[in-house]
Every structure is written in structure tokens, then in C-alpha cells.
């Protein structure tokens, strides 16, 4: 780069805002990006946070700890944690089997993993409700065993496992494919049993990816609405999720109540986002990959 091109930025201490480039269009595209992002995402979210802060900390606390709200938040967070944990374990198993083993139909099954990303949540919701209803394909045999899934918290769990699964498979899968074969071979040559090699050599580098998948599945599950409401039964204090409560408050024109719950949920999903970034940071330093 010519010294002349660098000259205008030189007087400022530290890094200039924009590193000089020969390409055109930065101001236009940057302007469009920031304007559109601000109008569609940032301003509306700011309005929500402003409204929440207008309620005041004491008012917010009172609304959040209202027994019905608290029950819904507990249901949402508890079941989302459980669903994300199930997904993390199942995701590792599925990623391992799809990457390491060869069997007929593997490609098709691999494509199917993304179904929850592509299938509209309302469709998943009524399908799960039909499947687990007392007269459904799975509901009927389970009912004979005395297990009720549809219209109970268990139904919510099934729906949340459904929506979170692809996150847990797709974050782990590329790492299973890239496992360094030589350390695996070294463990075998040094006499480690296959089980010991798995536990001490192969699986540890996968843990950060599992945690990332877990956090992504959790964040998705906490906010999930469409696939849950059909199969949940939506009984206050029992099987009512936080997003549904927002909808109910809105239908009662209780904007303040809706805002308070939404603010708590936003806080939780941003914490999950932060956790993901910290995990990836750690993983990059410790294992040299995300």
C-alpha cells in the first residue's frame, strides 16, 4: 500500500476506524447494514428494555416473582435445561455414529437431522400432540404403561428435545470428523483399551463443542413457543411456559406484565450467548479449535 493512502489516518493514535482499502462501497454498505440493523433489531429491543426499566427494579421483581409467572419461568428454564442435556448426549452419539460408522441410509439420516430447523414449529407441535395423545401411535402404548406425555410437562420436554437436537449434532459433528487420528493411534499403541482411549484422549476435546451445542439448544428451548403449546396442555402452574404467558398477557392488554417476562427471558438468552462465546474462547486457546 502506498504511504499516501495511509497518511490521512496516521495522526490518530492507535488503530484507525477503517483500515484503508482499494475496494469501493464501504460507506454505502456499512451505512445500509447499520441503519437496517438499528431499525429492525436494535431500536425495537431497546424499546423493550426501556419499558422494562420504566417498571423499576421493585416492580419488575414483584412481577417476575408473581407465583404464576415464577411457575412458568421455572417450567421453561428447568425443562429447557433437561432437554438441552438430553440433546447434548444424544447429539454426541448421533454425530459419532454418522461420522465414524458406515451403514445403509446414513446420508439420508444425516440430512434428516436438520428437520427441526426446516419444519415450521406449529407443524411439529400438532404432529407431536397427535403422536403422544392418549390415542396416538406412541401415546396409546405409553398410556398402557401408565405414562402420560401429551398435555403434561413431559410433552413439553419432548418438544424441546425435538427443536434443540440439530444444534447439538451439528456443533459436535465437524470435530468428530477432524479428530486427530495420530493421538488415537498413539493411545492404542501405548496399550490403552478402546474405552480408556475414548474417555481420556478422544472425548475431552469434544466437550467444549458439546457445551456450545448445549447452550444453543438451551437458548432455543427457552424461547420456543410453536412446537410446545400444542402438546403442553398449558395448565397454569403445571405445564405453562414463559413465552405462552407473554402471549396471554398481551391478549389481556397487560403490556407491563408481558414486558417483565420478556425482559427476564432476554437476559437469560443473552447470558447463554455470552456463555457460548466464553466456551469458544476457552476452546480456541486450549484445543486450537472452536
Amino acid at each position: 500500500m502506498s504511504p499516501a493512502a495511509l497518511a490521512p489516518a496516521a495522526p490518530r493514535a492507535g488503530r484507525p476506524f477503517l483500515r484503508p482499502s482499494a475496494l469501493p462501497g464501504f460507506r454505502l454498505t456499512f451505512g445500509i447494514t447499520v441503519t437496517y440493523l438499528t431499525l429492525v433489531v436494535l431500536l425495537p429491543l431497546a424499546v423493550l428494555l426501556l419499558r422494562a426499566s420504566a417498571i423499576g427494579p421493585a416492580g419488575l421483581w414483584a412481577l417476575v416473582t408473581d407465583s404464576r409467572n415464577l411457575a412458568a419461568l421455572k417450567t421453561s428454564f428447568g425443562l429447557s435445561l433437561a432437554a438441552a442435556a438430553i440433546d447434548a448426549v444424544a447429539g454426541l452419539l448421533i454425530a459419532w455414529v454418522l461420522t465414524r460408522y458406515r451403514f445403509p441410509g446414513r446420508r439420508l439420516i444425516d440430512a434428516l437431522v436438520d428437520l427441526p430447523f426446516a419444519l415450521p414449529t406449529a407443524v411439529a407441535g400438532i404432529a407431536l400432540a397427535a403422536l403422544y395423545a392418549p390415542n396416538g401411535w406412541l401415546g396409546a402404548p405409553l398410556a398402557e404403561l401408565g405414562i402420560k406425555v401429551a398435555y403434561t410437562p413431559l410433552g413439553i420436554l419432548v418438544a424441546l428435545v425435538f427443536v434443540g437436537l440439530p444444534f447439538c449434532v451439528r456443533t459436535v459433528q465437524p470435530l468428530v470428523a477432524e479428530i486427530d487420528k495420530s493421538s488415537e493411534e498413539a493411545a492404542a499403541i501405548l496399550g490403552a483399551s478402546r474405552f480408556r482411549a475414548l474417555v481420556t484422549v478422544i472425548l475431552p476435546p469434544l466437550v467444549p463443542a458439546m457445551l456450545t451445542g448445549f447452550a444453543l439448544a438451551f437458548a432455543r428451548a427457552v424461547g420456543e413457543y410453536g412446537s410446545v403449546i400444542f402438546v403442553a396442555g398449558n395448565l397454569p402452574y403445571v405445564s405453562e411456559i414463559a413465552p405462552l404467558l407473554i402471549v396471554i398477557k398481551l391478549e389481556e392488554f397487560n403490556y407491563t406484565g408481558a414486558t417483565a417476562i420478556a425482559a427476564v427471558m432476554l437476559l437469560m438468552s443473552f447470558s447463554a450467548l455470552l456463555a457460548i462465546n466464553l466456551i469458544q474462547d476457552y476452546s480456541r486457546r486450549r484445543f486450537g479449535h472452536v
Binding site: F30, T33, A118, P120, A122, A130, G226, L273
Partner: protein
């Protein structure tokens, strides 16, 4: 793996024993069949449970046709908006180095971590009757909430990151040398974009559009908050599924649902095809 060269003992130690392999495969496939395949199968079975005739009758209903038309209209507005944004954002972020670039990428991904219901709520807080701009809109007779503009806005929000997040990592990998060469050879900026950049990113762009469109047509939570569910007017296909289901009209509900499931399958097929044939023209897969 160099199976031909290694001794049998070392091969055994490099993979799980055969019974374990079979057990793990069966467990994984069973889990996927139970949680993914069965719900999908139920949709089509229920839709056709009263025969092909009643299945087809579902789509003759004026309300169903209005829902399909509205869903298409919303996608036709929301997807191009987010494509234009995705192209602008990826050009600015991938081709230039500026302070706060990573923060911008994080902010673009933000809608993914916001509950769809909250996405709808924020627009109600702004444009709703008791919202920030509510009185102003009412005075001027502008309807946004419980009308099509609100549905479009909510859809744009939830599909916001899809195109940008496919393009940014790819364009970062591709660097700027191709474009610089074209500029040096005297091409105009627009021509550089059209003949150099666009061909390099077309498959990733198509991939992003595919995912963006699937979400735009299938969005339920955000749209349900802002729609008001007025039959024939503000009812999209997923909302119509809900109404029919709550009226115990299962054949019709699953009929519309099967159309949406078909869209999901086409999306998956297109996505798989792109990953298979054009893997090198897509950014590193993972996450989505």
C-alpha cells in the same frame, strides 16, 4: 485409515468392538426415528386419513387459499429485504477491516437468541394501540399490528441473520484479491460485484435464501403475536394450522401442515444437494 497395513490387534484398538458399534448405531437411529421421523410421518398420515378427496378439499377453502397467498406474499417481501441486507453486511464486514467488526457480527446474530414471541412483542410495544407510536398511527389511520405490515416486520426480524451469516465467513475466506484485480483492470465497482463477487458466493447465497425462506414461510410465534389471526386477512399458513387444529378440524389442519412439511423436505433436499455438490463454495458448516 490404513487398515491394510496395521496388525489386527491395532485395528481392534482403533475402533469400538463390533457389537458396540451395532448397538450405538441402533441407538442413534432409533432416537432419530422416534424424535424426528415419527412426527413427520404423522403429519402426512393424518392429512390423508380421510382419503385423498378430503385432503384436496382443504385447499379449496377460500380461507386456506388466502392463508397460502399471504404466506407467499410475506416471504416475497421479507426474503429479498434480508438478501439485500445480507449482501450489504457481508460486503462491509468481509471485505473491509474496521473497528467493532466482531461486535457487528454478534449484533447481526442477535435475533437468533430472541424468543419468537418476544420478537413479536417488541413490535407490539412500538406499533400497538398502547405502543410508543400507537396514538400517532391511529390518528393517521395506519395499521401495522393486526395487519400485514406487522407480519412482514416480525418475519424480517426472525429471518434477519440467515443470509448474512452464510455469506460473511465465506467472503472473509475469499479475501479481496479477485476484486482488487478486477478494479485494477478497469472494471466499474458494480461490474466487479456482479461478475467477480456474485459468482463466487452464489451457492452460499442460495443456501442462505433457502433457509431464510423456510423460516419466513413457517414462522409461527412472532407472527401469531402481531397478526390478530383475522381469517382470510392476517392468517398465514402456520396460523391457519393452529385455528383449524383448535376447531378439531384435524384433516384440514394436517392438510395445510403437510404442505408446510413438504416445503421443509424440499428445503432439506436443496440444502443437502448444495452441501454435497458445492461444499467448497459454502463456508465451513457447523451450527446451522
Amino acid at each position: 485409515m490404513s487398515e491394510g497395513l496395521a496388525s489386527p490387534r491395532s485395528i481392534a484398538a482403533l475402533t469400538e468392538p463390533r457389537p458396540v458399534r451395532i448397538a450405538l448405531t441402533v441407538a442413534a437411529v432409533a432416537f432419530l426415528a422416534l424424535f424426528l421421523l415419527l412426527p413427520l410421518a404423522v403429519v402426512f398420515t393424518e392429512a390423508l386419513s380421510k382419503g385423498l378427496g378430503s385432503f384436496l378439499d382443504t385447499f379449496a377453502e377460500p380461507d386456506a387459499q388466502a392463508a397460502i397467498r399471504l404466506t407467499l406474499l410475506v416471504a416475497v417481501i421479507a426474503v429479498p429485504l434480508n438478501v439485500a441486507f445480507g449482501l450489504a453486511a457481508s460486503w462491509a464486514i468481509a471485505k473491509f477491516d474496521f473497528r467493532g467488526r466482531n461486535l457487528l457480527i454478534t449484533l447481526i446474530d442477535l435475533p437468533f437468541s430472541v424468543s419468537p414471541v418476544v420478537a413479536g412483542l417488541i413490535y407490539v410495544l412500538i406499533f400497538g394501540a398502547q405502543g410508543l407510536l400507537g396514538p400517532f398511527l391511529q390518528r393517521h389511520g395506519i395499521e401495522i399490528i393486526f395487519a400485514v405490515p406487522g407480519i412482514v416486520l416480525a418475519t424480517v426480524f426472525v429471518t434477519f441473520p440467515f443470509v448474512a451469516r452464510e455469506l460473511i465467513p465465506l467472503m472473509q475466506d475469499q479475501g479481496t484479491t479477485d476484486e482488487e484485480a478486477a478494479l485494477t483492470l478497469g472494471a466499474s465497482p458494480w461490474r466487479v460485484f456482479r461478475t467477480v463477487t456474485l459468482p463466487n458466493i452464489r451457492w452460499a447465497l442460495l443456501y442462505g435464501v433457502l433457509l431464510c425462506n423456510a423460516r419466513a414461510m413457517g414462522e409461527f410465534g412472532a407472527v401469531s403475536v402481531v397478526s390478530g389471526r383475522i381469517r382470510g386477512l392476517t392468517n398465514t399458513m402456520p396460523l391457519h394450522v393452529e385455528i383449524l387444529y383448535n376447531e378439531y378440524n384435524y384433516v384440514a389442519a394436517f392438510g395445510i401442515a403437510s404442505l408446510l412439511a413438504l416445503l421443509a423436505l424440499v428445503t432439506l433436499a436443496g440444502k443437502t444437494f448444495l452441501e454435497w455438490r458445492h461444499a467448497d463454495s459454502l463456508a465451513g458448516r457447523g451450527g446451522h
